[in-house]
Symmetry: C2
Subunit: 256 residues, 2 copies
DNA sequence: CAGTGGTCTAGACCACGTG
DNA sequence: ACGTGGTCTAGACCACTGC
């Protein structure tokens, strides 16, 4: 790229053809990288090409690639490791486990967790779920319910909804066999990377049914967490309604 | 600064004398900027010197100053405005109001809020509050309780604790006269800028007293939010225990 | 028009991880 | 020794703001 008083803009127009029209170069590079991630050109956990390689591929300077990667790293889509390279974020990692699970034990001790799948079936989407997943009412969705326990104490009751077209072959049996975080399974088995989520939190009273499965008194206060998770391109891929027992745990949040 | 094969490092050692010893230059600049902010050299809402001025002052390149400011802007301590300058963040702004108040109405309509101070007195700090504020048990603290209503509906009951040595002259009367966000008052009247906060969230049942002031049924589920707020240098400056009625509001959070 | 932050480049050197 | 990302610089030009 020349940077002279009368610059040659030919290569610029080449680039903008395949990307958002008039935005900063590094933003265009960022979109291109996002497209590659979305398309699965580099899988979660793998390294992406080096900054110099990408600079050569896109015909820009290393600094411009760097700024694009900086933003993706700030959004936790990429992970930089000095001396090694830049890697696609994955949910198969101890560090990342608590990025989406904000429930924390009072005494700080990380206790052993167990997950029991109570139900998993394919059904027609209710209107509210369909809307949140940007599907049509009646489109088929996977509905699973599970109970998470810490130190043998039932703590989280989750009701999860997934688009049926994407999560083919997800059954109670395959879930029961799997060890590890659910979002890790989604990555490996269905090619769906969860990248971001919004949560709406309320306090509610346990219904008799809920109280029964959580082994608490009916009417006890519960934290209700309604989450919508998104993949690349802000496409919603999961709706999750969780009920948390906050007797010995709390939901941790940081405001900046 | 020379960048030759045999560089002259004299100016480097000059700088490191007044800052953390061996860290990247831009991190040292960042600390110096933080010190100036903490010391009140530039007040909330004011512009800080231009990048070129700061570069001249610290004897570094504009790019290095820029990277320091980038991080402070990412942490919401500074606000960049193209063509105008870089400004110190302030809580006197509509945009920032909802940075620390995460309670959102179901219907999205921003309703008028009113704040009623129920109590404000200087007392000796209980052990738990003192620990959170990094004071000694029995040091004097300001304790205030207030009720926030939206559309005439009582919604938030706050119990707030502040270090007495810093918040001299804070009385129920001065609070009653003041309009606007509490953190704005803290900035203007006491020179305390809240920069970050940690929250622990639980679901609880309303006690008879709480139910009475919030005009709900005794035993109703409430969101309990325990917040510790920090100024520059991670010094705790407020402990706040809030009870939120989440009937027509929810606590909004984003996971990245 | 001048001054501010925003973008882009090119090149040097440093720090880290691996072979 | 080599390749990776990390830091730092210098300089050009762009985009926005306000006089």
């Amino acid at each position: 790229m020349s940077n002279n008083p009368s610059p040659d803009r030919a290569s610029d127009s080449d680039r903008s053809a395949s990307s958002a029209a008039f935005s900063p170069l590094y933003q265009q590079i960022k979109s291109l990288l996002l497209q590659s991630l979305d398309r699965g050109e580099w899988k979660p956990g793998e390294a992406i090409p080096s900054e110099l390689e990408l600079a050569a591929r896109f015909q820009v300077s290393q600094g411009t690639v760097r700024k694009a990667i900086d933003e993706l790293a700030a959004e936790n889509l990429l992970l930089r490791r000095q001396g090694k390279g830049t890697f696609v974020a994955t949910h198969h990692e101890a560090k990342v486990r608590f990025r989406f699970l904000r429930l924390t034990p009072d005494d700080g001790k990380s206790s052993i967790s167990s997950s029991k799948v109570l139900e998993c079936r394919r059904v027609k989407a209710p209107a509210d779920i369909a809307a949140l997943l940007e599907l049509r009412t009646g489109d088929t969705v996977v509905n699973m319910r599970r109970l998470l326990s810490f130190d043998q104490t039932p703590t989280i009751l989750d009701d999860i909804w997934l688009p049926g077209a994407v999560f083919k072959g997800l059954t109670a049996e395959s879930l029961a066999r799997y060890r590890g975080p659910l979002y890790g399974l989604f990555e490996s088995e269905f090619g769906v990377s969860m990248v971001r989520a919004d949560e709406k939190i309320r306090a509610v009273s346990a219904t008799p049914d809920q109280a029964d499965t959580l082994q608490i008194a009916s009417g006890s206060p519960l934290l209700q967490v309604e989450r919508v998770s998104y993949t690349y391109g802000d496409r919603p891929m999961e709706v999750r309604r969780g009920l948390y027992v906050t007797e010995r745990f709390f939901y941790k949040n940081s405001l900046n």
